[in-house]
Symmetry: C2
Subunit: 424 residues, 2 copies
Amino acid sequence: MNVKQEVYRLKEDSPILASSGIEKRNQALRFIAELIREHSGEIFAENEKDLKAAKENHISSAVMKRLKFDEGKLEASIKGIEQLILLLDPLNRTKLNRQLDEGLVLKQVTCPIGVIGVIFEARPDALIQISSLCLKSGNCAVLKGGKETVHTNRILFQFIREGVIKAGLPQNCVLQVEQHNEIDELLECDDCVDLLIPRGSNAFVQYIMNHTRIPVMGHADGICHIYVDKEADFDEAIRIIVDAKTQYTAACNAVETILVHEDIADEFLPKLSEELKKNHVEIKGTRAVTGRIGGEPVEREDFKEYLELIVSVDVVDSIDAAIRHINTYGSHHTDAIVSKDLGAAEYFMNLVDSAGVYHNCSTRFADGFRYGFGAEVGISTGKIHARGPVGLDGLVTYKYKLFGSGQTVDEYASGQKQFHFMDQ
Amino acid sequence: MNVKQEVYRLKEDSPILASSGIEKRNQALRFIAELIREHSGEIFAENEKDLKAAKENHISSAVMKRLKFDEGKLEASIKGIEQLILLLDPLNRTKLNRQLDEGLVLKQVTCPIGVIGVIFEARPDALIQISSLCLKSGNCAVLKGGKETVHTNRILFQFIREGVIKAGLPQNCVLQVEQHNEIDELLECDDCVDLLIPRGSNAFVQYIMNHTRIPVMGHADGICHIYVDKEADFDEAIRIIVDAKTQYTAACNAVETILVHEDIADEFLPKLSEELKKNHVEIKGTRAVTGRIGGEPVEREDFKEYLELIVSVDVVDSIDAAIRHINTYGSHHTDAIVSKDLGAAEYFMNLVDSAGVYHNCSTRFADGFRYGFGAEVGISTGKIHARGPVGLDGLVTYKYKLFGSGQTVDEYASGQKQFHFMDQ
């Protein structure tokens, strides 16, 4: 397959999808849900092939769990599509309606980004979710899933394409890329792909960011912090830390670093240490920490994203030191303060430069579903365009429509006419 | 100067500027306006040095005009600052206020992008405008102006910095970079600069885009089109074309290509040709054009951005062909249709994939001032983050603030608690 040539077809058809009505886009989603349900037996059979190959390749049981596409995941996927259908159309929203002068009206109207390339992990339900989000938002999608789910993806994609065509949307609005080497071809498509969304390991996302001129939306790292203020409720702090570290360690929103205010360190650290031990979490503390609870000290510069039952801990002498640490060593993902002092919380939330700044709750809440976005296409740690969990809103841009009646700029530049701005 | 080290100081201070109140930011703007007015004599004297050097270097008179900073430009700059002060604070706007569950409230709040690097042409008034926009929006600014205005920029920057400090904003929120080789150092600052805005020639903007990992906002090209529909009013079409081509040929929103519907080509082209000749505009037409009005034909693939009194002309057999041409050969900047047929206009405006899609008016209206944004930092042909003329709104992003009362994700994942989304 010549990836660039195929992607060009999407680019050519993207204005047609962009200007399609919401009824058609929702209809496509409905057809996709129906087709997947009708053909569930065939889909499960294809998934068995992937599972068999995975077993032969000694894939870990954690990954196997993700590969498996069963009745439960099918129903969850369909429910996801149904919820997406209920969401308001993100397109054609007038964000600005301004008369510049008589007979000269400017409108800022939301529209799709165009062609979006999504490279995602080996999870069949991710394919369904991502393509649904792109269709709902009027974006053409180039989809590259993990190679371990090639059979499942192929049959799922077939039904997605069938649903699209049945609804009367351009058939070239979705494209599946299967070969790993085709990713590099996709990265070269900076004249026909408007946005890339890589999902997966940090190393992978970083690789994508470094090897393309296409704008990339993703998270480079997920080094989330919890700062335990001197006014913290100890039990609350420990409950939140245990949840943020252990509820799902592989997530980018799991906490990796705990900063404890010096005034409470003597009392708090032993309690925290005890509770973390109970939950099988290893502490990597600086000298200020090991001096209080024992163990081999590590340097602050060695703190990192573990994605395991390990947590870095340090002591800070002020809230400002905590903020400075987070802004310097963090990844601008999600960082929390635990404190009964509302002023301190407000200060922390204003000065920490992250996509999510939390007060008295777990960093694990950073998620499109938990934010009520219906679904998410990923989490962005960039500050441009979309930040944090990205739902439908992050998949649209806007254009300016100017409705005139023969106006020239010279009339205004010469002073013959004046602008009279009036927002409607 | 070690650029990276200096920029790091801005990054460190950026949260302080970000959380400063609008009164302080406006006060800084007021001080800057005062200082510039008070010291106008000194500023004009420095400007004389730049003008003298430019004369010695045989700089063109067009560029000399831009370099010159006189009473008129000073007053216009001050008026620009005063208008900016009147604009609403773009920060701390709550875009979403959603209760996720009892005692768990999510707010999406606007905030500055952080540290913005602006590389701009040799125009002293641009320095004032850009730094004012950055300050108003709470962004730290690294400013690199054209070398031809080094003396003027240096003294202006001195007063900008003085105004900033006098208002109590962090002194490290503005930085001037003077040496051309320091641009390359700036491009390396992807860990401390959040956004780059290059202004100037396309080649220059392209160079910046190709040599940095920092997100870049700018226009790669300005190949604007006017499509003259079969239902066009000929006089109106010609008036608009003449304005869009001749009112200011060096602008990126000047028209470069005219597409004429076949049905009217025989009648319209001779009239257009005559009028363009009167305005000293040379036509580069395809065979379909030269067959009707004479001249040497060119190929459609050779159409380009002239920024001169030259215009490409082609004949298309349908509105779809016009749209396809624009989406293929255009630069997604600003494209217009001239037609009395409202349906055709709507169709064109929906399907043309450009930042600005215009009906019956000149492409030259694509400008932050004409859109009523008060000022503009540039025009973006990218689709990510900001599109078209970029004012204050394009200089902000948002963060999610989550206010909890001890919530953990496990409570929700286990089914013990449920989300109850309720927008306020």
